[in-house]
Symmetry: C2
């Protein structure tokens, strides 16, 4: 356009940069390390997915490099195989951080699972004479409601790289590598505010740091767990599996689907993987190696790592080779052929023994009952990789811990001196999930290692039995059916009659479960939005108000409730509670002056027609005539639910979670 007057305001430099997460307000004094000792508020040991994710979250919430240190013994980020699966719930969480795009577009989306079983003989006279395999069925990989109704497989190293790229926007230091934790202890006598003492071996020598909290994200061998004397419980099975990542050449029809293959000769699981730089696609194979190992006693394998007695270890390791894994896969897939596309087409391989172990405690308190040392990820639970849970559960441990820790450090919790009641819920919630994980994994792995329809022996399973375990486990394995138990942050009773239905997996509101996504239309501008986008992971609590059909009535329940909520908001520090409002009205033509002023004041861009696109009221089980109100925690899980008029319950709940002014 031909312009002839032009003026600009220089403060607009910020308009061009990528957006940053808004840090949480800090009500405690800003942290400054005093004295000659190296001191932090939080030290994280280990920068795998659990540790790195925790560092990213804490940095985004507002902890600077002065407060936060993350060390890792390895000199560089991971480049090899290991975990590769992301659950729908993990994808939702990554989306809430703006970190899902590359994973969704560049990862391999798994939408379907194919089940292959021993081929039934055509001639009924020859039952038992099984030859080859055949496809029994193809079912959706994710059978529950989810924003992303599929899993994604992608190299763990790439996820770490994505997390680290984001981290560096908030933390100039990033992960301090080649730095190994050698000793951890709690020494209150030395400094009761920074009682955790960590000895770190760095390239420059041995150093000692003090910290308020230390988080062990240091894997199955966890030094932190051992130093804090936290015991692992569980057992190791006698099943040995091989895993291999490669570019395959095969005529097997479902090589790009997740497959559970049971043949008379053994079992294989196919996990399609992402496209790589050459334009080719990776495939992961899990292969049941036909070799039996005696289970260790709990004592002998207390570290829960090798799962094999040292004396027999070497001999048995030598038996398993890449060739033996591939040969066994080929046996199971007959009559189809499968082989590496080229001699160098194998990316990574490993062998492992299935075991399920979980730590009795996830936290160590000091003498005053303050939660000082935490463990997350593999440090608290180890299990088989078969259900693709490891990286997800580990990252979700950190996700759960992160906001509780920052609320405590920033003085946002009611007992802001120690913040301990909030921090207590970390173990309550995540130990429950770890136990469920271990139980599911045990069942799933044993069934998977068994044979299906191969004969008349009693150990044989039917395909239907297997499918049953697969399907009922879907709520758990998708991450979308996780339900935290009753605790300070989850109020499971007292809202009877407010929510209708019990199909929580399809979205019916339930304290302890995450808020399902729905598509809604915004009042202010008609934009179609995903409701979960109003629940970003910025450490804030949200009140989600379902106004009722009387919204346009000046002194109706909806108006009264919104005004009362407005009063509640004013009792808490600014910006730590956000208000999201839905309405069930058919028309969108009403204007701001026809509804309570508080709607525009607090929620101009968070106020939606909740029935025009998807019917959010129906999905969530809320009666549009009566409405409802819920508190959604910073991690997207429902804390409490109340009648629309019962805002007192909402206020009381929030006062247990957050400090007031």
């Amino acid at each position: 356009m031909p312009v002839f007057v032009d003026f600009s305001n220089s403060s607009r430099d910020l308009r061009v940069l990528p957006s940053f997460a808004t840090p949480l307000p800090r009500l405690t004094p800003q942290f400054e390390a005093e004295g000659s000792e190296e001191k932090y508020e939080v030290v994280i040991a280990g920068a795998g997915p659990a540790g790195l994710f925790l560092e990213v979250l804490l940095a985004r919430y507002g902890l600077s490099d002065t407060s936060l240190l993350c060390i890792d013994s390895k000199p560089t980020a991971l480049k090899s195989g290991q975990a590769d699966g992301l659950q729908p719930r993990t994808l939702e969480v990554l989306k809430s951080l703006g970190l899902a795009e590359e994973i969704l577009t560049e990862g391999c989306q798994m939408w379907e699972v194919a089940f292959w079983n021993p081929k039934q003989a055509v001639n009924s006279h020859t039952t038992g004479d099984v030859q080859g395999i055949e496809r029994t069925s193809i079912v959706p990989d994710v059978a529950v409601a989810a924003r992303f109704p599929h899993e994604v497989t992608i190299h763990q190293g790439r996820i770490e790289r994505i997390l680290e790229d984001d981290l560096r926007r908030y933390s100039p230091r990033g992960v301090q590598r080649s730095s190994r934790l050698t000793k951890v202890s709690i020494d209150e006598a030395g400094d009761s505010e920074f009682p955790v003492v960590a000895e770190i071996e760095s390239p420059t020598g041995l150093r000692t740091v003090r910290t308020k909290h230390l988080v062990g994200a240091d894997g199955a061998h966890s030094l932190v767990r051992r130093s804090m004397d936290l015991k692992l419980h569980g057992e190791t099975s006698d099943f040995i599996w091989g895993v291999v990542d490669l570019i395959v050449d095969t005529d097997f029809p479902d090589i790009r689907r997740r497959c559970a293959i049971h043949s008379a000769r053994g079992s294989v699981m196919v996990i399609p993987r992402e496209r790589i730089a050459t334009g080719e696609y990776l495939t992961r194979l899990y292969v049941h190696v036909q070799e039996e190992v005696k289970p260790d006693s709990d004592t002998a394998a207390e570290e829960g790592v090798e799962g094999v007695k040292k004396s027999e270890g070497k001999a048995r390791r030598e038996k398993i080779t890449m060739e033996s894994i591939l040969a066994q896969a080929q046996e199971v897939l007959k009559p189809y052929y499968i082989k590496p596309r080229r001699p160098d087409a194998v990316d990574w391989w490993a062998a492992y023994q299935i075991g399920q172990r979980v730590s009795e405690h996830f936290v160590k308190q000091d003498s005053k009952g303050v939660n000082r040392v935490f463990i997350v990820g593999d440090a608290c639970h180890t299990h088989s990789p078969k259900a693709g849970q490891g990286m997800n559960v580990s990252m979700m441990d950190s996700y759960n811990l992160s906001w509780k820790l920052i609320h405590s450090l920033h003085g946002l919790t009611p007992a802001h001196k120690s913040g301990d009641k909030i921090l207590d819920t970390f173990e309550t919630e995540r130990q429950t999930i770890a136990q469920e994980l271990i139980a599911f994994d045990k069942e799933f792995s044993s069934m998977f290692s068994g044979k299906i329809g191969a004969g008349d022996d009693q150990e044989s399973l039917t395909h239907e039995q297997f499918l049953e375990v697969f399907s009922t486990g879907n709520g758990f394995t998708s991450g979308c059916g996780i339900e935290y138990p009753e605790n300070l942050l989850v109020e499971k009773s007292g809202y009877e009659g407010v929510v209708h239905g019990t199909d929580y997996l399809s979205g019916v509101l339930r304290p302890g479960r995450r808020l399902l996504n729905v598509r809604v239309k915004r009042h202010a501008d008609g934009v179609r939005r995903d409701l979960q986008d109003d629940f970003p992971s910025t450490g804030r609590f949200r009140i989600l108000a379902f106004t009722s059909t009387d919204l346009l009535t000046t002194s109706g329940i909806s108006a009264t409730s919104i005004n009362q909520i407005s009063t509640i908001l004013s009792q808490f520090p600014a910006s730590i509670i956000e208000l999201v409002i839905l309405h069930p009205l058919e028309s969108n033509t009403f204007v701001w002056t026809e509804i309570p002023e508080a709607v525009k004041t607090h929620s101009e861009m968070r106020f939606y027609n909740g029935t025009e696109l998807e019917d959010a009221y129906k999905v969530y089980g809320v009666d549009p005539k009566k409405g409802a109100v819920a508190v959604v925690r910073p991690d997207g899980y429902i804390g409490t639910i109340a009648e629309l008029k019962d805002t007192e319950r909402i206020g009381e709940f929030l006062k247990r979670c957050l400090r007031t002014l």
Copy 2:
């Protein structure tokens, strides 16, 4: 998992990096600058959206910093106002480059337009006694089929930053700033291979570079256009508008919707803008300033920039101030109030005069008819910003030019010595669009500057007339209804009866128009995909085959056609044509061995059920019983369409576009 054997292949480092676009093969010798002179294959003058986008595209296609130079006279990227609107089609193109995410999530999505007009007096006796404004209707902003059915507004500087971030992944040098083009000429005598001579004023002094091609993306004042003696045609109207970006305080109900407001006191256009770092939202206002200017003669304003005679310029500039623009906006919006939220809440403001001008030619050839110098963007067309077209049409000029230029330089065109026939189509195609743009803008701007329903005078428009222009223009303003004329790359006849219907805006296939997106389900893995994701902007041609219901018949038309297409593919350099295949069968349970082997060979991951999700056959107007085949150009536009069995037509068309082996 407890691992006891672990092996990894170090080549997997690449697995963790972000993906890079696959460069095009180069059949001409690799370029190496010889002699003492500074030489390039392409020089781009100007790094606004048009120039920068061209550089990004060429760098991704494979031109290194040795071959490619982009200079800009400014010392830094744009930080001020200017363009802010992205059309649905531009969003599709950015998506095809993996560059849409930040724009979609951080920009302001405009889904709706509200029309406001003078309030009709309640009492019919007082017709003509108009007081204030009222909302006449709200309609969808984008009324045609599009992958993203909305526009996005976002700071032009941010788009440039996104483009530049991507550029730096391919070009270590990036844009060479503070470097001003001072002279351009064609000197074949001096060096016929590098005949374009450019003089550049850099911080280090004046230097001379030679290049095969030079592209002027140097804006409305274009030195390149003037140096090449390319004439602008058009006129300047007598309407003056002010534009202001600010954070508003208002009770106007539709401030977050795009609004066309006609009042008895004048016109205002509201453009909602993105959320900024403070959490506040920007608004752009276009305000018709009530002051008349005499139109210049074509001669007096040949440069087409100021649109105002120099003699009267100064006096008139002084009349327009930020205060006068805001005061006029306030007048029009009565009875609502509108003001900056704070004294410093105005980001940018400018005043401009509406004018429409277009260059007679977009290209200058040398004496041998080789297209040497091109102009793109504002250098070839200037118009009003009101329809949000500028940045879009400019970037699409570059998008059109980019792949033709690289095909020519890489020797992929049939006449690979000059590549000129392909390059000729740049002007043919983009001049047509520029003319349409100018014509639409003229009509739209005049109507917008007129009054609606304000009285009985003949100049007054009805709301219906205005809405009519708005709606019929939607195909153009969305960018989705663009249709290139018949030319070497667009074959508009000879496919009669293959495609049914003429509702091209809803997706019916049409040579010269872009392929609409549909959702399809992939055969290999059941993944739900957007078909446009198989048409990324990597410079490749694609054959899109709609197989028919006889696909499972060994010697059916589908099988025969796919086999013939396979033969065609083998005649061209590897990887420059990709094959995408749809099938109309209800069942997905058939396996690779039941269909032609060529399907898996060429299209294992590009073969879809075309009816299970959306009915692609219906959308595109293809009869599932007969099928069809089309060529899609590297820019996503249909080149030609043929009967499924008429693969000869496909082969012939491709031979006119690409060299054979």
